[in-house]
Subunit: 373 residues, 2 copies
Amino acid sequence: MAKRPTVYDVAQAAGVSIATVSYTFRRPARVRAATREAVLEAARALNYVPNGSARGLADGRTGVLGLYSFDMLLEAVETGGSRPVRENTGPFRGAEVADHAFADDADAEDFRVFPLYVDEVKRGFELECARRGRTILIGRGPSGDGSVVLDIVSRVDALAVFPGVHSAEIIAQLSHRLPVVAFAMPYGLATVSHVLVDNRKGAGTLTEHLIVEHGITDIQFVGEPEMSDYQERFEGMCEALQRHGLPVPDATLDPTALVDDRPYAAVRSLVAEGKLPRGLVCASDQHALGLLDVLAELGVDVPRDVAVTGFDGTVAGRLSSPSLTSVRQPMEAMGRLAVDILMDSLANPGLPPVDQTLPVRMVVRRSCGCSPA
Amino acid sequence: MAKRPTVYDVAQAAGVSIATVSYTFRRPARVRAATREAVLEAARALNYVPNGSARGLADGRTGVLGLYSFDMLLEAVETGGSRPVRENTGPFRGAEVADHAFADDADAEDFRVFPLYVDEVKRGFELECARRGRTILIGRGPSGDGSVVLDIVSRVDALAVFPGVHSAEIIAQLSHRLPVVAFAMPYGLATVSHVLVDNRKGAGTLTEHLIVEHGITDIQFVGEPEMSDYQERFEGMCEALQRHGLPVPDATLDPTALVDDRPYAAVRSLVAEGKLPRGLVCASDQHALGLLDVLAELGVDVPRDVAVTGFDGTVAGRLSSPSLTSVRQPMEAMGRLAVDILMDSLANPGLPPVDQTLPVRMVVRRSCGCSPA
DNA sequence: CGTCTAGTGTTAAGCGCATAGATTCAGACA
DNA sequence: TGTCTGAATCTATGCGCTTAACACTAGACG
């Protein structure tokens, strides 16, 4: 690779000082038209591109927005995602891949692992950044570990994060160095902005649908209570039950509990005991899909024996059998909104963090017992 | 935001020179254990994070891989993607968005615009980078314009690009400054590596399926010939026809040609003249979906009146009605392979660029006349 | 004992750019 | 002609880090 020309080279070629070269690019108005042309001409001839690192160092900003995911993959597996995600270690050799590019195509083909909720939000973020001509630095890492995200924070002006289970502390720390917006939990961090959705209302709407349209009166919730989003959805369900004078479960069915090394222990035992409720509201589409697998395995028919609902509105729920009644989040808008918030914080430092909650919308499909067109 | 601590602060706190601080992080073995601990302790206490820009400037590398798309969105619209993509200008206001987050939910909901081919490849790229603990700089911009990509090249060590129609020259230029790998065309650039798929074989397989399984003997190709991938697919189709002694069209049906401001002029007139062939092999799933819309509008039934095939194997083709018989590209593998190639080039400078071709696989669904399970 | 070596730590010189402040220069004006 | 002003350009410094080169110390070894 050729040595890259610098301001010095351009300055020499144009017969000016490096300051003039810099001003030509950063504050063209400050430079006489003729001089400016000469500089641009020289730059063009030399194929000059300003060095991003040097710029970042000199003026203290990078012009880049960061997007970091505390990895949900592992978590997806743990929560009973049907198929294990590809092991994330060891070398990847291109030469070898050509021969079995479809080795685990069952995964690739069935869109069950992509695009997930995160991916659609990320897309909104990218689209909005592209619209504004901004570039994005993307990274991801295990939920507990801060090393990768630290590598990022020093290269971006602001950061959006998908929090993991154990990331609250790290996120709080980051927010002291640069503007941070978190998708969903952990809210309550006073120094972090949040893009949220109306979890309560969403879960409530689904629950009422089961009650009103399908006459179901015994409903339980599948999801880990320790995630605040899930907690809110659980509460939304409970509130709806309450409004209708129905019994309210005092705990969720934790899908991560194992029996014989297999997830959904609680559901399995309910089935075994013949005590499965008529309705199961799940914390996410991923949970619901995992649940469908388990129920199929146990010979329980959905929706005949039990109605199941998801949350998110991912493609996977549309492709499953039966297709998933769910609540769709405005993911693209969420991603765009995050950019909006970050740019605002950059433009007006000192602005306090903001929380914005977006609406969700029910998507009725087959897993609840409806058979839409 | 608090002022960020530097090596100087850490050095002072630990009672050593800045060199020792730097070595502690870069070459721990060079520092006595006790000293190292002291430095790490001080760094921890101060919440120190090395500045990425300074590092990049000092040692000439950033540790970041770039991924750039010469924007396909506009192109997708032009080629008759059914729905126009959101206009990409004007401000985006978060405050307002809350009220109509689903304003154009028809788009969001029907996964027709996401994930596309590019998105799945990008995912593979991201996964592989995550696996290696690398961060990615992502950008996109209009096909003719180099300004955004230039902003990127000075911040990354190597770059993968989705070429646009008019990007060959820019890409060639980039490849003189850093390792570049291009997905698909424009190959022929001697300084650029390529990740390719077997377009000929893919299109040939589809064509033979139409011939052998469905007894179709008149087949034409829908796609712009100026893109070399499409050209190869066209040729693959022609070769298959030839092998079976069938007539070979001498040109493709260009979907961008307009009649009354509407795309697919060629197809429209064939229909009007009652000369529509029995088989239409499309350059991509997007083309095929656009075509399905047009045919539906014209009252032509697929697959009864005409068999249609796509290329790529995107979700959209799975959700369309009828679902799309297509060829699936190993997109995740393609993305991973690109990372592999770039890392190799970085590890062994001087290595010549490589071209790697991955296999594709036919996915039979309903648009060809089959009715799989 | 003097010399060498390996192990540690420090000094100092950039990396390429932005920009405050100094300098120069060309009118404007008295 | 002398002075003042504003525009155009330059000089000089620093952003935070890496690293070659050097300095020092404590054995090892002849």
